[in-house]
Amino acid sequence: MYFKQLELFGFKSFAQKTSLELEKGISAVVGPNGCGKSNIADAIRWVLGEQKMRVLRGQNMEDVIFNGSDDRHPLGMAEVTLALDNSSGRLPLDYSEISITRRLFRSGESEYYLNKLPCRRKDIVELFMGTGIGADCYSLIEQGRIDLLLSPKPEERRYIFEDAA
């Protein structure tokens, strides 16, 4: 199973619809400070269902919606779509291609889609359960937080060991 494409529109600094064609193997994301690299990692977490704003470095849910720049007005919605190849059948859904979309409006309303059909956040989270994938797992290491893996506190690493078990 692998990611084929990530599309961001209105998510954090991605005011314009932007698409990453993803490949197997190793990809590197590079660029100067503050240009949006970690925002891409945030987008992946977010579309997989992340709810903790602290992890997304925000204070309120709407902090992920593009809030304007010198030359642009804030947008009214953030949208991220992740397309995956599921030919290995790893995800318990009878499709070889799966796409998940998450939208958030300034009103606070959220929408989720699985292969373009509306669904609940719960459906997306359950799809990935037990696969080691998902927002709250060891496959996504946040900037500056690799050290937390060494923390003695069970809460800090709980999900890792539980997930792995």
Binding site: M1, K24, A28, V29, A41, S69, I133, S139
Partner: protein, 164 residues
Amino acid sequence: TQSMFMEAFEQIRSHFFEIFRHLFGGGRANVLLLDPSNPLESEIEISVHPPGKKQQSISLLSGGERALTAIALLFAIFKTKPSPFCVLDEVDAALDDSNILRFTRLVQMFSDNVQFIIITHNKRTMELANVLYGVTMEERGVSQIVSVKLKKSPAFEFLEPSVT
């Protein structure tokens, strides 16, 4: 299910030992449940013995040694329970040149079965990649991405020298 957890934990522990030795060129590392009768709630203690040095609590390790130890633990978890993808955001920030090299070799070993997306400022780490996504803000406050394919597929790269 406590026994499933204990079994996974044992596997992680043994992979951690092995990968630590691989990254540090020797030494020992261990991860212990402080309360084995209650594994899911127990605190975990990591003890590390870099080659040539004495065993110490990980708090005395240097910034780079801690990062490398955490990387060893992360990959030990991957080996126990493989994930199809892994997003790493500047985990190489504290590593010196020779440790970056060891880190890149480790990533390469796992890359047949894991799709890595690595955010980095380091040139050596970038050299690992098949594809580079350059993120820019030509218009201030607005991100854009330019992608550059660096390599042909790994299989071809293996054959290439013989083509010459």
